[in-house]
Amino acid sequence: MISEVRNPVEPFLRMDRMPHIWCPGCGIGTTVNCFTRALIESKVDLDHVTIVSGIGCTGRVAGYVKLDSFHTTHGRAIPFATGLKLANPKLNVIVYSGDGDLSAIGGNHLIHAARRNIDLKIVCVNNLIYAMTGGQTAPTTPNDAVTSTAPYGSYEPAFNLPHLVEAAGAVYVARWTTYHVRQLARSMQEAFAKKGFSFIEVLSPCPTLYQRRNKLGDGLETMKYYKEKSKVRNGAPTSEVGLTMQGEIIVGKFVDRDRPDYRELMRHRLAETLGERYVECEELVCS
């Protein structure tokens, strides 16, 4: 008898949407595997987990995960998620999107949600370019890298995302690569349990558009680079974790701190000022 062996992540995926659109060697699927493992380990009630994506290759994650899932507009996953979380605080809201979506067109929302400490878990898959549209320069593209819109190499300074979100107020900041699957899943699990604005950056290969154009080999070659050049430095000052082209990658959990989230601040202020007139909102469900 041949017994059928199913992949344990299948129950978390919309199998009727397979095959997915991601290229061979792309790391986004790996991060989704880690995400489902984190969900399993967290033992969270999946009915209360909601995923919100923006636009781009990583933006497609919301469409493949079997949860209440929203594929929103370019850059606006975070403000959509803000409204969703405020309307129903029972939801565990995960924003899953790419570096261009979250830090360029959505950059303003990223810093303001961190400042407000909205209780959202951000998974930012960073492939260093805009992949969906053909490999253009992103705010994360390292100096010297060739992109379709920087054919002679990029000369713009790149964002150091952990530094940015820590400065803006995030309570949990970590970075891993798609080589660090166990560490990434653990970080996701920690973020799920953490109240406030959490940010996990995951470096991921784009063999089709970034590695190929820069003659850096395939997905496997990138895994070797991640393995050889990554250094785990938990608690590293985020000012020191900026990325350079093919340089050392500082990974780890950089920030894990507590400060009251938006809802708590709102509740405290309004209760103090309005006293008994304040009616606390639990769920804003209309009839």
Binding site: D16, D47, P79, T82, G83, L86, A87, V279, E282, V285
Partner: protein, 384 residues
């Protein structure tokens, strides 16, 4: 169902249009607003921010209009009734999310207290020059509803109507106020809650296993589920099928986009609200809306005093445009006179609908003030 009495300030008030709009939203059951400050609309959310914490709701001031116009949609999918408020420049920034609401069929309300444009234009002065933007401003084809109040009382009444239409048809509804209506103060009567009809959310009664987010029946409007209820549904701005899954084909696009438009068009006669007076034997019918309708009223009275047979037709709903009625009137009347605070927007609809059966005379005004009644009178006399 009736309004929740907790949000209803039953009584006789002296309110400006912006504040009346806020009371309309609270009466309709809105318990979430996300906004970004912009003159001359901000008073709506200022009042909401003061009132809603006592009613179990939330106001959040977002970092820009892009954020405001999508945060409210997140709140709707979380279960709330939600809206935002803006004026010209902010309305331009919200266009993408009006399209997202149309595509995802998110019931919500966008209030635009119109000011002079283009660009920063006249922040503190009136215009009605966003009327075409309200209909066509986001890319692609879709149906929307737009209402235009002409008094603080109507700012209250039509805000409730806007929420009711949004829920009934699952569309973004635009409440197209103008600076004068927003800032004028008049008597506003708020009836008892049990006299106010509220259209409830079209929540699915199906169990998760049987639910398809975009399955529709006769009226072409699908039923909603909220996040966190176990439905595990998917919503996307991409062209999608009944399951909500992206489908990049010509038939899927045709089916979806035609439905988004037709669900409004087929109900247009019910949505297209208007007020008319002495139109049946009129030689000239003045078509106007918002603050301009009140200036037109004076011009109509002056013309009648001179013995002219002048009818009044006031658009309460701008979109969908009341085509049937204007076409009927075009067969009886010699001419339409269309004053508006723009260089000719709704007049194009009157022209198109009249189809050459009656003359159509625009009375344009670039905004910043209102017409002089004499200018409208002159057009009436010329037309008659």
């Amino acid at each position: 169902m009736h309004a929740d009495a907790r949000g209803v300030l039953t009584g006789v008030h002296f309110l400006d249009g912006d504040h009346a709009c806020c009371e309309g939203a609270l009466t309709a059951g809105a318990r979430f607003a996300s906004g970004y400050p912009i003159t001359p609309s901000t008073e709506v959310v200022e009042r909401f921010a003061a009132r809603v914490p006592t009613l179990g709701g939330i106001f959040i001031q977002m970092e820009d209009e892009l954020a405001a116009s999508i945060a409210l949609q997140g709140a709707v999918w979380g279960g709330a009734k939600a809206f935002t408020v803006t004026s010209g420049p902010g309305f331009s920034l919200m266009m993408e999310h009006i399209g997202y609401a149309a595509m995802t069929e998110t019931p919500c309300v966008f209030v635009n207290v119109q000011r002079g444009g283009p660009s920063t234009g006249l922040p503190t002065l009136p215009a009605q020059a966003d009327m075409m933007q309200a209909r066509w401003g986001s890319h692609g084809d879709y149906g929307v509803i737009a209402l235009c109040p002409n008094s603080p009382q109507e700012c209250f009444d039509l805000t409730i109507q806007a929420f009711n239409f949004a829920e009934q048809f699952r569309v973004p509804v635009m409440l197209m106020m103008d600076e004068v209506v927003g800032h004028m103060t008049e008597k506003v009567v708020i009836p008892p809650a049990e006299q106010i009809e509220i259209f409830p959310r079209r929540h699915t009664s199906k169990p998760p296993a049987d639910y398809l987010p975009y399955e529709t029946n006769g009226d072409m409007v699908p039923e909603m589920a909220h996040a966190g209820e176990g439905y595990k549904f998917h919503i996307t701005g991409l062209t999608h099928d009944q399951r909500g899954y992206p489908v990049m084909t010509v038939p899927a696009q045709d089916k979806l986009v035609r439905r988004l438009q037709q669900k409004i068009e087929r109900a247009a006669d019910k949505i297209a609200l208007y007020e008319e007076e002495k139109v049946d034997d009129a030689d000239v019918v003045v078509v106007s809306y918002g603050i301009t309708s009140r200036v037109a009223q004076r011009a109509i009275e002056l013309a009648r005093a001179q013995g002219r047979r002048v009818g009044k037709f006031r658009l309460i709903t701008a979109w969908p445009f009341p085509e049937h009625r204007i076409r009927q009137l075009a067969q009886k009347t010699k001419a339409f006179v269309v004053p508006e605070l723009n260089l000719g927007q709704m007049v194009r609809e009157v022209e198109r609908t009249a189809g050459g059966l009656a003359r159509v005379l625009p009375v344009s005004h670039a905004g910043g003030g209102v017409h002089r009644p004499e200018d409208i009178l002159q057009a009436i006399l010329e037309a008659a």
